[in-house]
């Protein structure tokens, strides 16, 4: 038999999944993920998932804004200074629109690409796709998968742990 990816527990309600996620986190599991047909409020936090996207978007926006202002300042004040109607070469009010636009653009592009990268996309295949029941993760079932790479994972004990959470089913996911 090939390597195992993890153990998949199936639940019929989002509350049961939330409860299972909290229990599993309390039991020390970290390498795990939840799957649901709609966003379950609080589930990422219960699974101990940290969302680094806001910080990355902020950094992207700041780089965009500073970059835009630097570009305009360098072009107008250093590289090719022109007297435009007697205004100072570092004519900051005129620079604000571009600074604003590039802040938004860079923050937006960061959000787009960083959410791909943080989600591990593009990803044509996932071990869970080989489980027929998992189709219902996009319909009416809620899944918790504890992965074998978790240091606390043990084939029998983890199965026993999941069993006492009263799942609909427990499936072993092949790699």
């Amino acid at each position: 038999m090939s390597e195992t990816y993890g153990l998949l527990a199936e639940f019929s309600t989002p509350e049961a999944l939330m409860h299972a996620a909290e229990e599993a986190y309390a039991a020390g599991f970290r390498q795990m993920d939840g799957y649901a047909p709609f966003p379950v409020e609080g589930l990422p936090e219960a699974l101990g998932k940290k969302n680094r996207l806001p910080l990355l978007v902020l950094i992207g926006g700041i780089i965009g804004g500073l970059g835009a202002y630097f570009m305009e300042w360098y072009a107008n004040a250093i590289s090719y200074p022109i007297n435009i109607g007697g205004r100072p070469t570092n004519s900051w009010p005129s620079f604000i629109p571009i600074t604003f636009e590039l802040t938004v653009l860079c923050a937006g592009l960061t959000a787009f690409f960083a959410s791909f990268a943080l989600n591990g996309l593009p990803r044509p295949h996932h071990p869970l796709f080989s489980i027929p029941e998992f189709d219902r993760a996009s319909q009416d079932r809620f899944f918790l998968c504890i992965e074998t790479k978790d240091p606390k994972f043990h084939p029998n004990e983890t199965r026993a742990f999941l069993q006492q959470l009263n799942p609909v089913s427990i499936t072993e996911v092949p790699e």
Binding site: G85, G86, R87, S91, P93, S94, I96, P97
Partner: protein, 388 residues
């Protein structure tokens, strides 16, 4: 029926009334002793509290149109602020006696030296000023009367008719408000400068008023948040989150308009357009600009981006307090540098006029507040808007 006002608020009403009467007595003294300083101060005090009432009127009509969840908990505050408009109309009368102290178009030596101003005298003159002021106040008071009357009817009936009427008036009302404010802003504020004009000015004033009024009702709501009368109706976190988002939108809009006017003026660089800014960047006035940028926009903007700030009402209240104080400075900065451009200028008469008008205004506000149930009753959209 329950009311937001408790014993503390009843005492606050008496204190405000006392402060207001003393302040207005001080205003009379100011009028006699130092009319030059006094009328600037009085216009500032009046325009600040008028701004709260008119901003509240606009927010109230916005809520009647959109029926957002944020509005039900603050509707009584907005309505009480709106109901002070007749009082503010009476309190405006002294300004008519201060026109020579305030406006260059009443100053013969300025008129003689300024051809542009002479050509504007067919519009900028005492009868025109008085008539236009009376008309805009009349329009605001009529709109306020109808909204308050129908709101009282809504509390007493299960019929949807009053709700429908309020919504029908609010659509045109939100157009009438900036149009009337344009006339008022030109007469009362823009003509403080002798040649200056800006087509963006009135809408900038309107958004400033709505921002100030929103900060004001958030402060009041945070005080009332623990009161039992509001308890079952509002979910604190949800309400403050939503109203915090609205506050964020208004500080951004304020900054956008302030900057828009600056950018257009900067790009045009025409003598009659830049005078307003020249009067506001000399000496210490430029630090007032920096203060306004920081505390009416920059600091609140970054704080309000954060979700926890909006969901904890004590924190949101301190952001609202920051904006409210900055808005007081904003109104002074809009008015005073036109008359005193050389150096930063503040006068004790401004404090006295602010307390006098503010005291009377607050007493009237609290009196209107205690007359009504704490939250709207029988609003057909309320049940939908309140999450289970």
């Amino acid at each position: 029926m329950s009311s937001i006002v408790n014993a503390v608020a009843a005492r606050a009403k008496i204190v405000s009334l006392g402060v207001g009467v003393l302040g207005l007595a001080g205003c009379v003294a100011g009028w006699i002793v130092a009319p030059g300083d006094f009328f600037v101060a009085y216009l500032f005090g009046h325009f600040f509290f008028l701004g709260l009432s008119l901003g509240a009127l606009a927010l109230l009509m916005t809520h009647h149109l959109t029926s957002g969840y944020w509005g039900y908990s603050v509707r009584r505050f907005l309505e009480s602020a709106v109901s002070t408009l007749p009082l503010l109309a009476v309190l405006f009368v002294p300004v008519f006696f201060g026109l020579p102290q305030l406006y260059p178009w009443k100053n013969p030596s300025v008129i003689a030296a300024d051809e542009i101003l002479r050509s504007r005298l067919y519009y900028l003159n005492t009868p025109g000023y008085v008539i236009r002021s009376a008309v805009v106040f009349a329009i605001w008071i009529v709109m306020a009367r109808f909204l308050l009357k129908w709101s009282a009817e809504q509390d007493a009936t299960v019929s949807v008719e009053p709700t429908r009427k309020m919504r029908t008036l609010s659509g045109p009302g939100l157009v009438i408000y900036p149009v009337t404010m344009t006339f008022a802003a030109i007469d009362w504020l823009m003509s403080l400068e002798k040649d200056w004009y800006s087509t963006m000015f009135a809408v900038m004033i309107c958004i400033g008023q709505m921002l100030g009024a929103l900060a004001f009702v958030i402060l009041l709501l945070s005080v009332a948040a623990d009161s039992r009368q509001l308890g079952p109706v509002i979910s604190k976190e949800e309400t403050f989150h939503k109203i915090g988002n609205l506050l964020l939108a208004f500080t951004m809009l304020w900054a956008y308009l302030e900057f828009g006017q600056l950018l257009i003026t900067w790009s045009g660089n025409l003598p009659h357009e830049i005078s307003w800014y020249l009067n506001r960047v000399t000496d210490g006035w430029r630090w007032v600009c920096v203060f306004l940028f920081l505390f009416n926009f920059f600091v609140p903007f970054f704080l309000l981006l954060m979700r926890p700030v909006k969901r904890r009402y004590q924190v949101l209240a301190s952001v609202a307090a920051c904006i409210f104080i900055a808005h007081i400075v904003d109104v002074w900065w809009t008015i005073a540098p036109s008359l005193h451009p050389e150096h930063v200028y503040v006068t004790w008469w401004a404090v006295i006029a602010f307390l006098g008008i503010g005291g009377i205004w607050s007493a009237a506000f609290l009196k209107n507040l205690e007359r009504r149930p704490a939250v709207p009753l029988n609003d057909p959209r309320f049940a939908v808007a309140v999450p289970a």
